[in-house]
Symmetry: C2
DNA sequence: TTGGAATGTCAACAAGGCTGACGTATCTTG
DNA sequence: CAAGATACGTCAGCCTTGTTGACATTCCAA
């Protein structure tokens, strides 16, 4: 097999390049969570709370089972987090009108405020990284990340963009 | 302020774009760890073991304190993981010759074998993502990730590339 | 009317973080 | 050479967040 046509010997696909990509993901993810983590610790919450808050903010009125499918944890695990958020008055849980078994989750004012704080911190870092790298790099960044997702999660990720203009 | 020259109103820096970047990181990281996780579960290990193995493989003979600074955990936490790996015969710990206080960590043959297995699985996904996105996208991906790291970790990340040709 | 879906909850357990404290070599420096 | 600093290991206890398993309730839909 000739080396050019096969596409196997391209420089950016060497094991060493891939390994560097792996390490980049590892170190970058640390930075990605660092800023919200500071705020969360201060409030005695963890990343699990952040995730729940994020996706409730993103899809107000979402149901528990939808959240479960996005977060990929057990309902017991989610419920523990959700319970503290509800008890602390950050999340509101309301019985569905169409299907009364469902609970629709929304953020209270206090919840919105915290979401904003967490989101601001995280976006500030993203913004500075995006700005440093430039629009072309950002497009590539998004492409690679999307290609890295499990198909099922990619579907959910894309669906999340559709309905928000 | 004119909107073009300021650089603040660029499409790729809108809050919505940043938010999508955040979600992309979240979902992609799940994919990133999914394949090794399967192997690890089967062996009753966790991600913490994987991280230790990875960086020992990357820097054979590295010391405990160097590993600590890369992983960003406490020595108690690292030690628990390291202990099981040593007891299971995957990692070898040897007193330093120059400085006898230090322990130099290397993978045994069995350790190398596991590292290879984990690394193969993780690289396979990276490779397929890289191939799907193309070299330009990959360059952008790397740039954004690097810009997202904490300065201290970026330094370590870069240092990790220098001495391996 | 009956099976299954959506939810909540209790209990128990494990991984893997953390802090604090202490001990022991070993190196370095005044 | 003595004293302090460094590198490492370890004991003990705590927290978050994940897991499994079991059980109850409510409600939709065939």
């Amino acid at each position: 097999m000739a080396d050019v046509q096969s596409g196997e010997n391209l420089l950016f696909l060497t094991d060493e390049q891939l390994r560097q990509g792996i390490e980049a993901m590892f170190f970058a993810y640390r930075g990605f969570t660092a800023d919200p983590d500071l705020i969360l610790t201060e409030l005695a919450y963890g990343r699990a709370h952040h995730r729940a808050i994020h996706f409730i903010a993103r899809r107000p009125g979402t149901t528990v089972s939808n959240l479960l499918s996005i977060l990929g944890v057990t309902k017991q695990s989610l419920n523990r987090v959700l319970r503290t958020l509800i008890d602390d008055g950050l999340v509101k849980s309301e019985k569905g009108t169409a299907d009364k078994r469902e609970r629709h989750l929304t953020l209270t004012e206090a919840g919105e405020a915290l979401e904003q704080r967490l989101s601001d911190a995280q976006r500030a870092r993203m913004r500075s990284a995006y700005r440093a790298a430039g629009p072309t790099a950002v497009a590539g960044f998004r492409q690679v990340l999307e290609a890295m997702m499990d198909p099922e999660l990619r579907r959910k990720y894309k669906a999340m963009r559709e309905t928000d203009t």
